[in-house]
Symmetry: C2
Subunit: 337 residues, 2 copies
Amino acid sequence: MPRNKKSPSNEILLGIDLGGTKILAGAFDSSIRLLGSAKRPTLREVGPDGVTARIVETVTEALQTAGRSLHEVTGVGIGAPGPLDPDTGVVLTTPNLGWENFPLAAKLSEALGKPVFLDNDVKLAALGETRHGAAVGANSVVALWVGTGIGGGVLVGGRLVHGAGKNAAELGHMVVKANGPRCGCGVRGHLEALASRSSIERDLREAVAWGTKSRLERLVKKNKTRQIRSSELYRAYEKGDDLTRRLIHRAARYIGIGVGNMLNILSPERVVLGGGIFEAFGEDLLERIKTSARKNSFDVAFDACEIVIAKLGEEAGVIGAAELAKDKLGERRNAGR
Amino acid sequence: MPRNKKSPSNEILLGIDLGGTKILAGAFDSSIRLLGSAKRPTLREVGPDGVTARIVETVTEALQTAGRSLHEVTGVGIGAPGPLDPDTGVVLTTPNLGWENFPLAAKLSEALGKPVFLDNDVKLAALGETRHGAAVGANSVVALWVGTGIGGGVLVGGRLVHGAGKNAAELGHMVVKANGPRCGCGVRGHLEALASRSSIERDLREAVAWGTKSRLERLVKKNKTRQIRSSELYRAYEKGDDLTRRLIHRAARYIGIGVGNMLNILSPERVVLGGGIFEAFGEDLLERIKTSARKNSFDVAFDACEIVIAKLGEEAGVIGAAELAKDKLGERRNAGR
């Protein structure tokens, strides 16, 4: 039997997750098993071309760790914060990176000499969790990623939904409290303005300024600008800090409202909760979120859905990015038949 | 060439829309052209078997009007208020009809001697508008039906989304104002509690009770129980009644918030607005709704979407029901190959 040259079994796929603070890269075999990985600070101040060079360094290190070479790489997937154009590989505007209309896929493809495919970071994390993590076996998935902001990913029929504007699943930007607090995007009452780490920090700082006692008081007063990390919130929460507990529980209630909305809108098989807050809090908020989701949605949708915490941690994005590369190369091969 | 016996060109499909107040039926050819129709009051007090008999009378009349006979009918589609199970054809619970676990498809199939397929009434209206009305040519569609309640239909990749619980797209039951007014389903702040005809009526009655002047005052005071019709609201609105205008404009703002949420969540190509309110108000509220949707969503999603008023009026549901029957018969034929 002739060896299938079109899909070499020793092909290597690269997955990259580009964030505002760090770059993660992984080298994968064709079954998307991780062979080696690397991590670097993004250093956004070096600008888009500088960051692209840092991405190349990071993937080079990941390949070295895996004991493989760039010659074996057939394709590269990369996730970046949106909005972006997955078809042209252009990052449109990214407050997190300070970029505007940067052709990331083309630039990286030029640097590596390989095809590069771009998609939204949270969408790729959702894809990673669906293929290898907490949503394996589910066809319809809603992923809600709660960190500094709130992002999302939606799969229907096993496929990511991008929509006509190519940037669907901005689940943090659904109004859940009309006339509520203002979101970073300017709109009042978006979920992100009520349940993200930064919204919790906003209210914590305000309460402390008004004299409310908290274990985080010193941290808040010492650092006017540095963010309070999810892990710091968790430590105060665990130790019973009253203010932190109240704010976290309120956030959990709103996350449950967001999940409840998605249950009534799409009735997915699985809802996956991930991102910085859940990396820090693990399963601790799950029952609270489920209680709020149940209260705000129909039983018929709630009962048909499993609500779970993400399994892959910060690797979800690179795994999803490698899956993207695999899918896109597969589509190209099929189209070339 | 042998004639294709499996898909006879003279086949007749029946589409039925079962509502709380009326039954609509249509007889269609295989291209889903309407050949004849009929309409009867539902008379829900006669109970599920009695209503089934009335449905049979209505389709019989529709066939007579079309000059066709039941022998030519190959399949029947029927839309009913949810929640229901489209796979088993059972209406689970319907406050509108007062039914519980009624096997409507099986009962109607027995009565007519034809295969009968059941789905949610608003989903079928969305399908009708997508195949023949305001959303022709669009692959991803969000339909929002605003009447006494608020229902929805979502198509992704040209197909209705039912989800794991089989009752997705309950767009009236998304929280847009946490802690807001209570919805008929018991949850606070659902869109239906802020923008449906019944929520407008609730606030109109309350304002009048508190002494606010309105052209609808006499109607409100005379009829404590009869609903105020959408057409009556429109008449007062058109004549400049201040209270009605304020309430309708507030509803439009909330409908825009709901649409904005769907833009950020699914980024559809087309949003279709239908139901009693839009049958009465036509395009009059469209600009207001667009303004609110634009304000609450990302440009990338808003700019990629057309927001339009439904075209097919009360026929959308029967047309969609006939399309359902056609699709399901096609699937059976393909499965039988």
